[in-house]
Subunit: 196 residues, 4 copies
């Protein structure tokens, strides 16, 4: 099966999961103007998750770009990976709603977010290593710098998300700040560092 089929379905899930995030940004009057300021955690959660999903979409294409074909195992791995991506709106809602509530609920919300993102990062690694193992699915003329760069740097995602998740046991707010920092790092890494 050529990779184009895979991309239409994947792009759809990425786009829908990101766009559904807006359904959890809500405000009601009276006193609307005060409320629009009070719900800043909802904006922050929306922005961090949208950008995180967007970065994963970009990285997913970096992988698929290096492939010459896909097999059924890779398709099934991708379906499971997308199942995790489409799950993101749920913990995003939780962290926006509970991060400023009592400690136990805030911690549960931050852990739910972190476990989801860590799982995505790990599964991303598995999917990539399956495809790249002995060049199994790589295209003939794959870009060696991209492939070795991806393989080298892929531990970074799972480790940074795992650390941010562990921080939630001590401080849910610090954990949430770290999730935002990781998203910001990827944005800067993509747009500035990569241009040296």
């Amino acid at each position: 099966m050529p990779t184009s089929r895979l991309e239409a379905f994947s792009d759809g899930v990425f786009a829908i999961a990101a766009t559904l995030l807006i359904l959890d940004v809500t405000a009601t009057g009276p006193g609307l103007s005060a409320q629009l300021l009070d719900i800043w955690p909802e904006y922050a959660a929306y922005a961090v998750s949208f950008i995180s999903i967007g970065i994963m979409w970009i990285n997913h294409h970096v992988i698929v770009d290096q492939l010459g074909k896909v097999d059924r195992t890779f398709l099934v791995l991708t379906v499971i990976f997308l199942m995790l991506i489409a799950f993101v709106p749920f913990p995003t809602h939780l962290i926006a709603e509970y991060i400023d509530k009592d400690f136990a609920d805030a911690r549960a919300a931050a852990l739910a977010y972190g476990v989801t993102l860590t799982s995505i990062a790990i599964f991303y690694n598995i999917t990539w290593r399956y495809a790249a193992w002995n060049g199994r699915l790589l295209r003939h003329n794959f870009d060696e710098r991209v492939v070795s760069g991806v393989s080298r740097s892929y531990w970074l995602g799972p480790v940074s998300y795992a650390v941010a998740t562990a921080v939630a046991f001590v401080s849910p707010a610090a954990s949430a700040a770290l999730y935002a920092a990781i998203a910001l790092f990827w944005v800067l890494e993509s747009s500035i560092f990569s241009r040296r």
Copy 2:
């Protein structure tokens, strides 16, 4: 009409139906951490339905890959098939919500899920047999092994879902477990068995 048009619409419906499943995973505080464990049927239903839709997406492409053209009858059959796919979030919500409630409601939910999945499997068969009949829509150079393999194994889907549905009359929980087992079987069949 070439098959590419069909795929954009189909991939869209598959991707949206799968991604909408997350809207039925919900939890509220206080006591969020306990609740996040209590709602495991919602996670299970989400995962089983997402993967089932994903597998159907893969199999749909196996069919379309063998076609050289589509006619209006095939398009209409596909629209009805997609109507059934897009219906999946409804019984998924029911089974997640009622499987651990009283027997009559759990049975109704398990039956609703089973009837939906059985209908999808039957309609999948009809769509395929319409396309493959006397090679009506097959492409010139279709893969004979794929075509005969699909034709032979297609009874498996309707029968396995029908059996799992019938089990709901005796035990809704066992029926739900069978739906999960069928999804798991297709994952393993795709990723392991098919590689012999």
Copy 3:
């Protein structure tokens, strides 16, 4: 601008509008099994609207297939046409909810549905006539039979929907039955009559 861009956006709106229809199919326990039978108007409304949107998707492609290019006016007309398509879930919800309630509400719901579908049929005509006028956007080698067939039969959609809408003043239920009959007619017309 080539027509491929147009199709990705259009197919997305068609697929999302159709798939969102499932959000209005709902049931709650206890007494779930009785309720799953009671909500048959929701299933019927879901099916009729999904298939109607699906048929419009097919017909939209029949148009676009005959085009060699699109201009900005055609794009804007298409955006307005898609705005009407994406509106369908709203009157679908109304007709499913109110068709078996008191006469005035049922009539309002049936009228809302009919006005929406009639507007879609009229706007479809406008879009097509803009494109076909003096062959403005038609491709060099357009299929004359398709073009004259489309131009001839296009009054059928607006008129049949307008009649069904008018019937709502007398009998909302008869009006709803006519909407279903029109959808069924298009299905049969596509799949059976067109094969003579």
Copy 4:
């Protein structure tokens, strides 16, 4: 990375953000027919936002059409741009709900809408200027008239939206009317003026 990948994800977000707008058009009986007239601000907000997103989709393609490649910085800018597009359903809901309520809430809603649309217009500019700067990402044979036309007219969007936003401090209703007028202007500009 070729531009086709970018388009699938972008078209998805545009299509979903526009189609989700219908979820905020709601009415309940009894007295449905009176209510269907009373909620005209919901229809107006739906139409203005759908058409605004549609016009931005068209303009986004005008940009991408002139590009020969994209780099990671451009992808990240696009993700942020799409994050703002996907945000539109939230202020659309606010303006539909609160424009006819008390002054302070109506003003807050009109400001929220205006700030969102102004941000989109500004970010659109930034994305375009990044791509066009010294012809960075332009394709070899870009259309000079399009490129200089886009560069010249791009101040129009941010300024007109900023003015309409400022008007909200004095009259939220006038501000809302201006948002509608801007959308109408772009429709006419596309479909009539551009044909001289």
